[in-house]
């Protein structure tokens, strides 16, 4: 069937069963936007292209589908870069379609021209500059395949405006065959045998579950393995949700900002089974020390991650779900729970201490001067249903959420892990709510991060998207302040945000309900109002500027 390139892009998206795209129009992408009028695809107009990229990201994380964002050439495309890099670092499947100046003008510094394929090469799984409309159907099919399979990631498709306007005979290919891209799914049987043997021989095994377990939908298999042999499970930041927070075998998050129990488990293990994690430097700081003390089994779909940061005794390349299923076929059960009991004791010890600290605050005779996030967040989790989605911004708010929220299911904790992008949370929460409109979505934010994407309040108003914003306002760039305290002897440089606007009034300007609280005694009632309905709500909490992260 003959149609224009722009119509072909729309049709291809429909063939891929895309139901939502996030974007912002412009001259170089206007034929696409014209063709979009004839489609049933929902388009969410954000207020900054960055919001579109993060929105596609949040949508992809909660639905498991490929997120799509669209922008024009030049600054539209470059505004997507942070979002694309963010998706790359966290292995999230998104497609970014950008307009481009006409083919003949590429390289002439034309108006709104930017080499987006060159610029995104370092942070995209792959990218395309489509110079012939005939290539569009195949390109889009390949792009979706590359984004969604193997280790997921962002793919950029740059389409010059004259290509969008030229015509082609639309034929959507049935399959893809990319010579240089054939990800391994099935684990090597020999390696699987070795891994099972090592696991059964270990006295103090620990599982470290990463984002890959969630991407592979392997939570069931993870739980079965952990339960069958009483193996404590620690998670990376990206792995939160792979095992329920309140599961007795869950030690919490590892790393520089993680839970003591999790780090204790890792430090005393004789075998560490790393599942779908990339041994990031914030998660496992001294990889060489760990590898000397414990035997490392690393299971990941990306062969380049294995052996990259840690010496691995048993490498296993493949889909974590399939490999765990194969392992479960032959792994024996183990009733001895001495090691698991030791970890449980550690966990209890630290939990007792944490609740003692929290109780100290509650029993203060005077009203506490500030809201303590570590007091509020567990209560928020109590008042939200198990399937609620929590998004976070970056910084202290992110770590408070990671360590204090109760996450019950995979794909319900969305955070910018690898890149740590401030301003990610709000648009990602918007994308999440669009992807799962039936569940409550909350974003844990800080006054710094909030102001990086504050314009997306406009998107929320435009589409009546009921995201609940919990804004921890300490008038500081908290995480950096803490860093300056420890590394620069408290010489604070540019971390004071004490001339913030009235955030509640700002929300009201958009027509949203909200309130400000400044004491723990106000928390319970405020949370009731926050979660009373499905409408946007801003709960601003005044937090002690010196409140420590841990």
């Amino acid at each position: 069937m003959r149609m224009t390139g722009a119509e072909a892009i729309v049709k291809a998206l429909e063939m891929e069963k895309t139901d939502v795209i996030f974007g912002y129009p412009g001259a170089a992408i206007s034929p696409f936007y014209d063709a979009l009028l004839g489609s049933s695809i929902t388009h969410i107009l954000t207020r900054h292209e960055q919001g579109a990229a993060h929105g596609a990201n949040g949508y992809a994380r909660v639905t498991g589908r490929v997120g799509v964002c669209v922008a024009t050439s030049g600054p539209g495309a470059t505004n997507l870069i942070t979002g694309i890099a963010n998706a790359y670092m966290d292995s999230i499947p998104i497609i970014a379609i950008t307009g481009q100046v006409p083919c003949a003008m590429i390289g002439t510094d034309a108006f709104q021209e930017a080499d987006i394929t060159g610029a995104t090469a370092p942070f995209s799984k792959h990218n395309y500059l489509v110079k012939d409309a005939e290539d569009l159907p195949k390109t889009i099919k390949e792009a979706f395949h590359i984004a969604a399979t193997g280790r997921p990631g962002p793919v950029v498709i740059d389409v010059p405006v004259d290509v969008q306007n030229s015509t082609l005979d639309f034929k959507y290919p049935k399959d893809v065959d990319i010579k240089g891209y054939k990800p391994t799914c099935k684990g090597h049987p020999m390696q699987i045998k070795k891994a099972v043997a090592a696991l059964e021989a270990a006295q103090r095994p620990v599982i470290c579950a990463g984002g890959g377990v969630i991407a592979a939908n392997a939570s069931e298999e993870l739980l079965e393995l952990a339960q069958r042999r009483n193996i404590p499970v620690a998670t990376t930041l990206m792995g939160i949700g792979s095992i329920p927070s309140n599961h007795p075998l869950n030690c919490g998050m590892i790393g520089t900002h993680g839970k003591r129990t999790a780090n204790y488990a890792l430090n005393h293990a004789d075998l560490v089974l790393i599942l779908g994690a990339r041994v990031g430097d914030r998660a496992i700081g001294s990889a060489s020390v760990l590898a000397k003390r414990a035997k490392i089994i690393h299971i990941d779909v990306d062969p380049a991650e294995i052996g990259k940061n840690i010496n691995t005794a048993i490498p296993l390349v493949g889909d974590v779900k399939l490999i765990l299923a194969d392992m479960l076929k032959c792994v024996s059960s183990d009733d001895s729970d001495q090691w698991a009991a030791t970890i449980a004791e550690e966990k209890q010890k630290w939990q007792k201490k944490a609740s003692a600290d929290a109780n100290e605050l509650k029993d203060d005779k005077e009203e506490s001067q500030y809201v303590n996030p570590k007091y509020l967040l567990p209560l928020l989790s109590e008042v939200l249903p198990a399937e609620a989605i929590i998004a976070t911004e970056v910084g202290q708010n992110q770590i408070w959420a990671a360590n204090n929220c109760q996450i019950h299911k995979p794909k319900t904790f969305i955070t910018s892990g690898g890149l740590g992008t401030m301003g990610y949370g709000l648009p990602a929460a918007i994308g999440a709510k669009i992807g799962r409109p039936e569940v409550p979505v909350a974003v844990i934010s800080g006054d710094g991060s909030f102001q990086m994407s504050v314009q997306e309040l406009g998107t929320m108003k435009h589409y009546a998207i009921g995201v609940k914003i919990v804004l921890f306002n300490n008038s500081r760039l908290g995480m950096v302040r803490e860093l300056q305290l420890s590394k620069h002897e408290g010489r604070y440089s540019q971390v004071c945000l004490d001339k913030n606007p009235d955030f509640v009034a700002l929300a009201a300007a958009y027509g949203f309900k909200g309130e400000r609280i400044s004491s723990n005694s106000q928390v319970k009632d405020a949370l009731k109002r926050l979660t009373a309905d499905d409408e946007p709500y801003l709960l601003e909490c005044i937090v002690d500027p010196m409140e420590p992260t841990l």
Partner: protein
């Protein structure tokens, strides 16, 4: 640092060279030399990359290269199981008094003189890097004005070939 030679089959598309170079630069890998040309299959080019680094580095380089969608196949070439060659053009200062001596040296190395002028001689030499280095050494005394090198290219000995296949077990 040890040098390792990688033979990489890539899609013959615009931008592939830039992607590979970009990969090396952002991951901090050292390229000693890089030569690329189209193969017996016009849709496929072969890059011969000489990398500076230890075993672990070369393993990471290979794995990261394999991740590129444009990279079809990659093989690390064994020093003893492959033939390596590079082509070099050397311009030396030469006048009537020393021209004969230079010509003799060039003859011994089985190299070729491809240009002559009143004050210079340009020599073309191809061979493994040891041979080329030895000739350079001999010519240095006369004054080397300019050297232009291709990169190293390499091919496996015997009937081993590196080919695009559809075999998933490869």
């Amino acid at each position: 640092m040890a040098k390792h030679t990688l033979s990489v089959l890539v899609e013959n598309h615009a931008g592939v060279l830039s992607r590979v170079a970009g990969l090396f630069s952002r991951r901090g890998f050292n390229i000693d030399s890089l030569a690329v040309g189209v193969t017996e299959n016009p849709e496929v080019s072969r890059m011969t990359i000489v990398v500076d680094g230890d075993e672990h580095t070369v393993e990471q380089v290979s794995k990261q290269l394999n991740k590129l969608v444009d990279v079809i196949k990659l093989k690390k070439l064994d020093v003893s199981e492959s033939i390596k060659r590079e082509l070099t053009l050397i311009k030396v200062t030469a006048n009537a008094s020393n021209r004969t001596e230079i010509i003799q040296i060039v003859g011994i190395f089985r190299a070729n003189i491809v240009d002559v002028s009143k004050t210079t001689l340009t020599i073309e030499v191809s061979g493994d890097s040891d041979k080329v280095a030895a000739l350079e050494d001999m010519l240095r005394q006369f004054g080397i004005k300019e050297i232009v090198r291709t990169g190293t290219i390499a091919i496996e000995r015997g009937n081993r070939i590196i080919k695009v296949t559809n075999n998933e077990e490869e």
